[in-house]
Symmetry: C2
Subunit: 506 residues, 2 copies
Amino acid sequence: MSRELSRQRARRTETGIKQRPWRRVVNPYPPIEVLSADEVEAIHLASLRVLEELGIEFLSDGALDRLEAAGADVTRATRMVRFDRGLVAETVGRAPAMFTLHARNPERNVTMGANHIVFGSVGGPPNVTDLDRGRRPGNFADFNDFIRVIHSLNAIHMVGGIAVAPIDLSAESRHLDCCQTFLILSDRVWHATGLGRQRPADAIAMVCIAHGIDRDRLYREPAILTTINANSPRRYDGPMLDGLETMAEAGQCVCVTPFTLAGAMSPTTIAGSLVQQNAEALAGIAYVQIVNPGNPVLYGGFTSNVDMKTGAPAFGTPEYTKACLAGGQMARRYRLPYRSSNVNASNLVDAQAAYESEMALWGAVMGHANLIHHGAGWLEGGLTASFEKLVIDAEMLQMMAAFCDRIEVTEATLAVDAIAEVPPGGHFFGAAHTMARYETAFYAPIVSDWRNFETWREGGELSATQRANLIWKELLRTYEPPPMDGAVAAELAAYVARRKREIDGP
Amino acid sequence: MSRELSRQRARRTETGIKQRPWRRVVNPYPPIEVLSADEVEAIHLASLRVLEELGIEFLSDGALDRLEAAGADVTRATRMVRFDRGLVAETVGRAPAMFTLHARNPERNVTMGANHIVFGSVGGPPNVTDLDRGRRPGNFADFNDFIRVIHSLNAIHMVGGIAVAPIDLSAESRHLDCCQTFLILSDRVWHATGLGRQRPADAIAMVCIAHGIDRDRLYREPAILTTINANSPRRYDGPMLDGLETMAEAGQCVCVTPFTLAGAMSPTTIAGSLVQQNAEALAGIAYVQIVNPGNPVLYGGFTSNVDMKTGAPAFGTPEYTKACLAGGQMARRYRLPYRSSNVNASNLVDAQAAYESEMALWGAVMGHANLIHHGAGWLEGGLTASFEKLVIDAEMLQMMAAFCDRIEVTEATLAVDAIAEVPPGGHFFGAAHTMARYETAFYAPIVSDWRNFETWREGGELSATQRANLIWKELLRTYEPPPMDGAVAAELAAYVARRKREIDGP
């Protein structure tokens, strides 16, 4: 580490709010299992029938070549690929059950697998909203502010990608600006865009610059993750396959996530949608392992359903929660790390946004998801990134992290002596046992307001969403970028400038 | 059943909203266990030390007599009662693991025990609020409207008591008006007030009139439930003990619930608060079983904590959720049905109210609570009953009930044929498998709005709370009282009139 960097790191950033420190989360409780072992096996076997008898479409000649060479049954005319169960077992079996993603700041490395939970922020919305300015198309200024607030929230382990699409920038080169933002404004691991070859290749080049490492070392120390969605039903398109190959060839993590919205892109039953999710996920993971045996992957579950009367997608419903929990069971059957999400379909940050998010979060946490993608900031079925929801989600994530701290049961915490000290009808405020503990005893919230009604009213009668609005603005006001060596920043800038000239012209 | 009653029942009430029918809920999933078996035993043993060495204060000479006769170690001067572990095991062991509460309408009977979940509405708040009229002191008109809305919401199994204190009525006789409301405006089981002898005695007399049964039959077919709170730490006061005795002598259900707010009424650790909760609950349940061996009881858990900086109570926190889950483990250790709650500390029906409620609900449902008291309508730490929260909670309860419907895994739902029918890149909207299922396939919400942003905006941009406001008013507009024989109603009215003269004078 350069002297400049050491000096910058020594100056600890104090955010303007109270929150728990950044820390890794491990779920100490067994998962909720909504399927019996027989039912898991029935879904597994039905998905093998889909893979063996029906097949998956791969819209890439290069992928068809590789799949055929690996032993899959490829029909060139239809681009359909059938996988026999032996090939599925053999290829999927190459995937690691656990791996580390390396951050620019090694203290922010995260582990995917076992009972580890990584909370990521929202990625992908075309719109952005906040209470002051309302809903508007995504833009680069908001994107940068969003990343600043994400970086300031300790509950979030990972920057989950392009939180707000900066549509004011060139569509062909904006990924470069976004990668630069990820690397400059935060030092956490981040989600790269995996569409086509160019975008992940640039992300890979830039992460090497930022980490000061070469590609061999990046291969050994994977740093970035991308989501590859199946174009459900049963299709992987060309740009997705190009992205998958580029990431896997560099040893970077591929999160294979079918988008199985029951009733629209998958059958009108949760069981059937899980069969299709499982078939599509296994096909994608098999292909990653064909491209690069042992490459880090995540089994992504994203089964929800549409409202059958209107076709509108629903999220955070009871079906969604059950599918989350079942998805975890399927992932564990193959010893694969599991990805789920924190979703809702509300159009504003209200009670619905919160209760749907909680239904999703409980499904993810108790389904032993290793990555909770879209964990903070997602609104409106993913069409909008909300600054206030980002803060409220950070509270919900922080509460889940605190839930994962086990109750401490020791002679001292059982507190029979303290109970003896306080007579019937008395109180524990002044007890020695209390005095020794009161400062750190219980969960301290970010947004929640526990004042009594009168004090709250005198304080302006603010709702949780209004308080969240004040918090993200305070976080922006007190934001400081994580330390970066000036030479590295310059090299990143030069890379971006050069690539922009190549893409957009002079 | 009289001809009049049959005629009334035949005319089915249609509420003005879409909701699932009233139905019993059974949790098919194993509970979340946050304590190891050793930790459960450590809490058990520590609470036995509290009962054996420290004792519990009973502020009633009659209770002290009965406890002494039953073998407890009674110190008259201090009114402290010590229970040895043999006495605890023997008396608590008499309690039934499961029992039925009988409603005026037998179709609304509920089972307490095993994996059954009964959702009850809020009881006890002194204030009432809604978006139109704001927060105001409780009154009889609002109380009646609240019971009408509760009765109209199918997700609620049980009327959880005096939802709003009608402080415009005589404090000494208002329980009569409230019992009359419970019996006339709803036909579900209900929670009676157990303070002193007179109130539960009147409830018992009135339920006999309404059910057309005598006390022997009521004893065999318990119909009402009351909550007996320990005045934590380690005290049962006179009115609570009088209520407990009156209920137990009549064979009615007693829900023994210590109010262990960690840091104030119990130690500043969750483990210590659970020790105290367990000791107080066991003492209360032991006394119920001394008064009437085999009497239906619930083990009530209500451990939360105060904000140590302000003393304000916090609800729906990570500690609360863990205490809920741990409380279920303690109750199951004694084979006792378990009671928990749906609580929050928000001052309005916002995202905080929803996410704190969800934290409580997940603790209750996955802690295998058999009764979720205050399940709908509780706001502001229990100081206010909210009409809008009542509707939003009904949605959350209905979602939990739907979560408890297992994923159906059959050849038909696995849907390999449907997956075969739809080509890659196609959709399932018109598939035969979809057409056969689309009307009832997925969860249909009460409050949640899944329309896209533009349609929602054109529809008035209403929040979940604003939509809930429209819903409870629609439920009031379309409310119809459940059928009751005119002679029974008259007998109830005569009873209330006579007792009011006795209590309040002519």
